[in-house]
C-alpha cells in the first residue's frame, strides 16, 4: 500500500497534536467570543471600547505575525518575570514557553475575535419579546441568559461557529512554523529527508480534507438539531 518510510507513527502523532490544538483553541475562542459579545452588548462604554479594540486589532494583523509575536515575545516576558522574581524573592521560577501553548493562545485569541462577532449577531437575533416575557415571569438576568437567550441564540450562531471552526482547523497548520511537531512539521521533515514532497504532503492534505469534510457533516447535523421545531422556509 502506501509506504510512509517509517514516518507513519510520527505522522499519526502529529495528526493527534493538530486535533488537540484545534479543540483547545476552539474552547478558548468560544469563551473569549462569549465574553467579547457580552462586552459589546453591555451598557458600559469602557467594555464596548475594549471589545471593539480587540476585534479591530485582531482583524488587522495576520495570524502568523501574531503567532511569532506571542511565541518569541512570550518567552521574553517569562524571562523578565523570572529574573524579577529571582531578584526580589530569590525563588527560582522558570518555564519554557512552548509552541503548543503559544499556538493555543494565538489561535484562541484570533478566533475569539471572530466568535465575538458571531455571538453578537446571534444574541441580537433573539427577539426582544422573548427577553421581555422572561422578565415578566420574574427570571433573573442570569436565568434569562441561561434559559432563554442561549438556547435561542445558539441556533443563529451555529453556522458562524461552523465557518470559524473550518478556518481555525486550517490555521493550526501555521503552528508548525514556530516548531510544533504537528503533522505538517513531520511531513516537512520527512519530505526534506527523503526528497519526496508529494509522497508526504499529499496524505497530510487528505487528512485535513477528511477533517474539514467530517466537520461539515457534523455541523449540518447539529444545525438540524438546533433548528428542530423551527419551520424552515424552503
Amino acid at each position: 500500500m502506501f509506504d510512509l518510510k517509517g514516518y507513519g507513527p510520527a505522522l499519526l502523532n502529529g495528526a493527534v497534536v493538530t486535533v488537540e490544538l484545534a479543540f483547545l483553541s476552539l474552547a478558548l475562542a468560544l469563551v473569549l467570543g462569549l465574553i467579547g459579545a457580552a462586552a459589546k452588548l453591555s451598557n458600559s462604554r469602557v467594555a464596548v471600547g475594549i471589545a471593539t479594540t480587540y476585534t479591530t486589532l485582531i482583524r488587522g494583523v495576520p495570524d502568523l505575525v501574531m503567532m511569532l509575536l506571542f511565541y518569541y515575545g512570550g518567552q521574553v516576558c517569562v524571562n523578565m518575570l523570572s529574573d524579577y522574581i529571582w531578584d526580589t524573592y530569590e525563588v527560582d521560577f522558570f518555564f519554557q514557553f512552548n509552541p503548543f501553548i503559544s499556538g493555543v493562545i494565538t489561535i484562541g485569541l484570533i478566533f475569539g475575535a471572530y466568535m465575538t462577532e458571531t455571538f453578537r449577531g446571534a444574541f441580537l437575533a433573539v427577539e426582544t419579546g422573548q427577553i421581555e416575557a422572561a422578565r415578566a415571569y420574574g427570571f433573573s438576568t442570569w436565568h434569562t441568559f441561561r434559559r432563554v437567550m442561549v438556547p435561542q441564540m445558539l441556533r443563529h450562531a451555529l453556522p458562524g461557529i461552523g465557518n470559524n471552526w473550518q478556518v481555525l482547523l486550517k490555521t493550526t497548520a501555521l503552528v508548525s512554523i514556530i516548531g510544533l511537531t504537528d503533522m505538517v512539521r513531520v511531513a516537512e521533515e520527512a519530505a526534506k529527508a527523503e526528497r519526496m514532497p508529494f509522497h508526504f504532503f499529499i496524505p497530510v492534505a487528505f487528512v485535513y480534507l477528511a477533517l474539514t469534510a467530517g466537520s461539515e457533516l457534523f455541523i449540518k447535523w447539529l444545525d438540524k438539531r438546533a433548528n428542530a421545531g423551527v419551520i424552515q422556509e424552503s
Binding site: R59, V65, L68, A173, V184, F201, Y208
Partner: protein, 241 residues
C-alpha cells in the same frame, strides 16, 4: 513625563535605523506585489470557473467543484509546501526554461496563492450568480437576449454587486495569508520582521512594527472596498444624498 519617556526611548533606539526601515519597505513591496498579482490572476480565472460551476452538466461543473473543494479544504501552507518543494521534483524540469522561473521562491508562492484565492473567489462568485433573482433572467429572456448577452449585461453585473462584500473579506484574508511566504525564504513584510528579530533579539519591536504595517494595509483595503461598494450600489442610495 510622556515626552521624556519617548525621548529616552528614541535615544536608545538602535533598531529602527534607516537600514532596517528600508528592509521593511522592501518587504512591503514584495508583499504588495505578491498579493496584488495573485488576486488579479485569481479573479481573472475565477469568473469563467464560477460560470462553469453553475452549468447543469456534471461533467463541466464537477471538476470545478473538485478543484474548489480540495483547495478550500486544505491549509494554504500545505499547498505552498507541495508546490515549492514539489516543483523541483518534476522530472526534467531542471533542463527547461521553467526552472529559471521556478527556482526563485517568488513564483511557486505566487502559483500557490493564486490557486488558493481563485478557489475561494470562484465559490464567492458562484454564490452571487446562483442568487440572481429569477425575474431578472426572465426579463432578459423576454427581451430576446441570448445566453452570452444575458451573462454579460444582466447576470454578471448584478452578481458583482452581491459578491463585492465577500470578496473584500477574501482580499484581506489573502493579505494576511501572504505572511506565510516568509516560510519559503521570501523576504516579504513578515520575512523582514523575522530577519530583524533574529538580528536584534527584539521580538516586540520587530513584530509589533510589522503588525502595524499590515494593519495600515488592511485599513487601506477596507477603505478602497467601501468606495467600490458605494460606487456599485449607488442606485440604492436614498434620493437626495
Amino acid at each position: 513625563m510622556p515626552p521624556d519617556f519617548i525621548a529616552a526611548w528614541l535615544n536608545r533606539n538602535e533598531i529602527f535605523t534607516a537600514m532596517t526601515i528600508m528592509e521593511y519597505w522592501d518587504g512591503m513591496v514584495t508583499t504588495v506585489q505578491l498579493v496584488f498579482l495573485c488576486l488579479i490572476i485569481g479573479l481573472a480565472f475565477a469568473v469563467p470557473l464560477a460560470i462553469l460551476r453553475t452549468v447543469k452538466n456534471p461533467f463541466v461543473s464537477g471538476p470545478v467543484w473538485l478543484y474548489t473543494y480540495i483547495f478550500r479544504g486544505t491549509p494554504l501552507l500545505i499547498q505552498l509546501y507541495i508546490i515549492y518543494y514539489g516543483v523541483a521534483q518534476i522530472p526534467g524540469i531542471q533542463e527547461t526554461f521553467w526552472w529559471e522561473i521556478f527556482r526563485e521562491p517568488f513564483y511557486p508562492a505566487l502559483l500557490a496563492f493564486t490557486l488558493n484565492t481563485c478557489a475561494y473567489t470562484t465559490e464567492i462568485i458562484r454564490g452571487a450568480i446562483i442568487s440572481t433573482p429569477h425575474g431578472e433572467i426572465e426579463a432578459a429572456k423576454a427581451y430576446g437576449m441570448n445566453w452570452i448577452m444575458r451573462m454579460r449585461r444582466i447576470v454578471l453585473p448584478s452578481a458583482a454587486r452581491r459578491a463585492v462584500q465577500a470578496y473584500s473579506n477574501e482580499v484581506i484574508f489573502m493579505l494576511h495569508s501572504s505572511a506565510i511566504a516568509s516560510v519559503v525564504t521570501i523576504v516579504d513584510l513578515t520575512g523582514a520582521a523575522r530577519n530583524i528579530y533574529s538580528r536584534f533579539y527584539a521580538p516586540f519591536d520587530a513584530f509589533i512594527f510589522v503588525a502595524l504595517c499590515y494593519m495600515v494595509l488592511t485599513f487601506i483595503l477596507v477603505f478602497v472596498f467601501r468606495k467600490i461598494e458605494n460606487h456599485l450600489l449607488r442606485h440604492q442610495r436614498p434620493v437626495g444624498s
